[in-house]
Symmetry: C2
Subunit: 194 residues, 2 copies
DNA sequence: CGATTTTTTGAATCATATCAACGTACGTGG
DNA sequence: CCACGTACGTTGATATGATTCAAAAAATCG
């Protein structure tokens, strides 16, 4: 399981990882398993760990006054999960994160992560690469949601992240798209006939 | 004008900037002035520079098939402007960036920026800090747009970025919020009476 | 001052939400 | 292995919020 993480890091950095550095990485990350529906983070808690998903499926969402869930992010195999704001600032989170499938994680605490980043250039580089990709993806999603209709956003998701549709139930996909489950059902029916 | 940039960088980093490093920064950034309505970047162009706004007001937007503008980002004094994706990947941009007020910039090319980041730790640290803040802000905006009604988003903008409302016309604010100018007008009228 | 841009208002229309009911699939315990 | 319960998906009817188009009013600029 650590091999998956090490491979992941080296693929996203230029500086190679030495044997000693690999050992540091192994020491910093602790394995954790989550069952289906188990929380990784609950609203009000501080996000203590940055988690690498070895395998599984999770979602990050907020709950509004009416009790409706709004999914802001999905994560599956080999994605990172954390509430960035809460993790970086060590403030209480406004989000929940839970597992939709049985999930295996490797977790690093913030202090351990900070020293790891200083000790291992590849980790630093990976972090930057991820931030870069994250910013670009976030920008695209903002554009999508302010410019496109519900149908266009669904079709775009179908094109860019088809695996989400296979691993999460449709009402979660609807929440992620910012529409009601019923609307998504109708959109799909309509899109089929085209 | 370079002083503003140097102060900006040192406030957002921990490592102090030496005199030599300050000289490197001055060399890397070239001043540029934009008149009102002048483009910094046009759709289809590659974003060659990262621009620090010394003073002024700009917007980044896309144009859909119907010719409607969708503003994804505003920038004012002491913000950075660039299409991140185009700048990092050196691919043609899908966005336009133009000046709404007379604007003074300090621009750095991508190669110069990369070497500067390596030579000056403070620049590296600032970059990370900005990425971090950018990711957090983007996440919040995504949440806002999928969870809140138009009115709630307007009130939120009023609270978090009141200066935008003073420096950009209302129809641009509407575009930024993802609603029509008419709807924003009606929302404001209604909100006043409360 | 006139010209242009911006904001407001009204009326018609459209997209999506909501509520309620029903059908279906799935997994779990007996 | 079947039956039952719960979660998921679909459909219809209605309500609502936002868009569109058109025009007038107000503000801004040269």
């Amino acid at each position: 399981m650590y091999d998956i993480l090490l491979t992941y890091i080296s693929q996203r950095s230029v500086t190679p990882i030495t044997a000693e550095q690999a050992a540091l990485i192994r020491d910093a990350f602790k394995p954790k398993k989550l069952r289906k529906k188990q929380y990784l983070l609950q609203e009000g808690d501080v996000c203590k760990y940055l988690s690498f998903m070895v395998k599984g499926a999770m979602r990050q969402y907020s709950i509004d006054e009416k009790g409706n869930e709004h999914i802001v992010r999905f994560g599956i195999d080999q994605w990172w999960m954390a509430d960035r704001e809460s993790f970086e600032m060590q403030t209480p989170s406004r989000y929940n994160i839970d597992a939709w499938e049985e999930t295996e994680l490797l977790q690093v605490s913030r202090p351990a992560y900070l020293s790891l980043r200083d000790a291992v250039p590849a980790v630093m580089e990976m972090t930057q690469e991820l931030d870069k990709r994250g910013s670009i993806a976030a920008q695209k999603r903002i554009q999508a949601v302010i410019s496109y209709t519900a149908e266009e956003r669904y079709l775009d998701l179908l094109k860019t992240h088809p695996y989400f549709l296979q691993r999460f139930p449709q009402h979660m996909i609807a929440s992620y798209l910012g529409i009601s489950a019923e609307t998504l059902s109708r959109i799909r029916k309509q899109a089929l006939s085209k």
